[in-house]
Symmetry: C2
Subunit: 198 residues, 2 copies
């Protein structure tokens, strides 16, 4: 059912967004409008009925991608170690997935062109996670489970250790031999807890 007569078909909009997400992640911002409408199976003019221009589509597509990446963190369930391990699992799975790496690559490469947009998306993604993680750590510090220190600094250290070097290698296309995921997470979380032990 429609309001009056034939408004822009939401189906087409969705198809365009989906095609754009795929192609931007594959080819970066250089993915052409022709390629996008081709994959969406939609006419050129239809694209310009739904979006002002390529930039608008890019902004919207990339916003969707980022919201798929953020990892949840529940600080109240179980021990601190278990909370951190749970967070680590999800964060690594998302940030190190092919999509996670691709979105990181395209966002960093387009930062000079769309400074405000990229800053905003960083705030919604990594920034958000740093804040909530820092909150959990601050609480643990107040309870004496961790030594008194700057919670944001501690959160940054943990997140850096969880994906740092591995993400770099995926970004650069360097192959990595498979490793035991849970053993690695345990090593990092336990090491972190030693580093910030009271």
């Amino acid at each position: 059912m429609m309001n009056t007569v034939a408004p822009p078909q939401p189906g087409n909009r969705e198809r365009l967004l989906q095609a754009a997400r795929e192609l931007f992640l594959e080819q970066g911002y250089d993915a052409s409008v022709d390629a996008i409408i081709g994959r969406a199976g939609v006419a050129r003019q239809t694209f310009y009925n739904h979006f002002q221009n390529k930039e608008s589509l890019f902004a919207e597509a990339v916003r969707c991608c980022v919201s798929d990446i953020i990892a949840p963190l529940d600080g109240r369930a179980g021990s601190l170690r278990e909370s951190l391990q749970d967070f680590a699992r999800v964060y690594r799975a998302r940030a190190l997935s092919p999509e996670g790496v691709a979105i990181y690559r395209i966002l960093s490469s387009q930062a000079p062109r769309f400074p405000e947009l990229i800053r905003e998306l960083f705030g919604l993604g990594d920034g958000q996670m740093i804040s909530t993680l820092a909150g959990v750590l601050r609480h643990a510090m107040a309870e004496g489970q961790l030594r008194q220190s700057e919670p944001v600094f501690a959160a940054e250290m943990l997140m850096a250790m969880l994906v740092g070097q591995e993400r770099a290698q995926y970004l650069f296309g360097v192959p990595r031999e498979a490793a035991d995921e849970t053993a690695k997470i345990d090593q990092i979380v336990d090491g972190f807890l030693r580093m910030f032990a009271p």
Copy 2:
């Protein structure tokens, strides 16, 4: 003095490389040949006398950039803590400099286009540093200064903590309030030593 008569002037080659380094770091691979020869003050044909095409120039320019970034590490001078602090200082200074961030951005963005080149450069840059750092750590483990563990893993943790979150924010153009550099390095190195204490 020249071999026979008027070989390609090395001065022009150098000017082209310098201009290319500047423009590629500023604008990424999209920097046009016109812009590069313009900045070098050289004619179009001269460019194609010295380089086969844009790709060749890019490869050579970016190789120079990487060799400027790698940080030295001397494991035999002073205590382990001091060696790591020295390394940390230089590594952070280079990796977090505007040039260091820009080269990281352009290499990761061009990894899909030039897979072999980028893998090679990673090996010459970060890969090299991981190896030498891991060597120092392995030695310290053998001497009982650090707990027995995988030296490469430990090296990756330290390097991730040293630049991880900070580089991400520079990559994304997120401003960061200034902090005490030496205090931060001490915190990270001391935390690392606690994490891997015997």
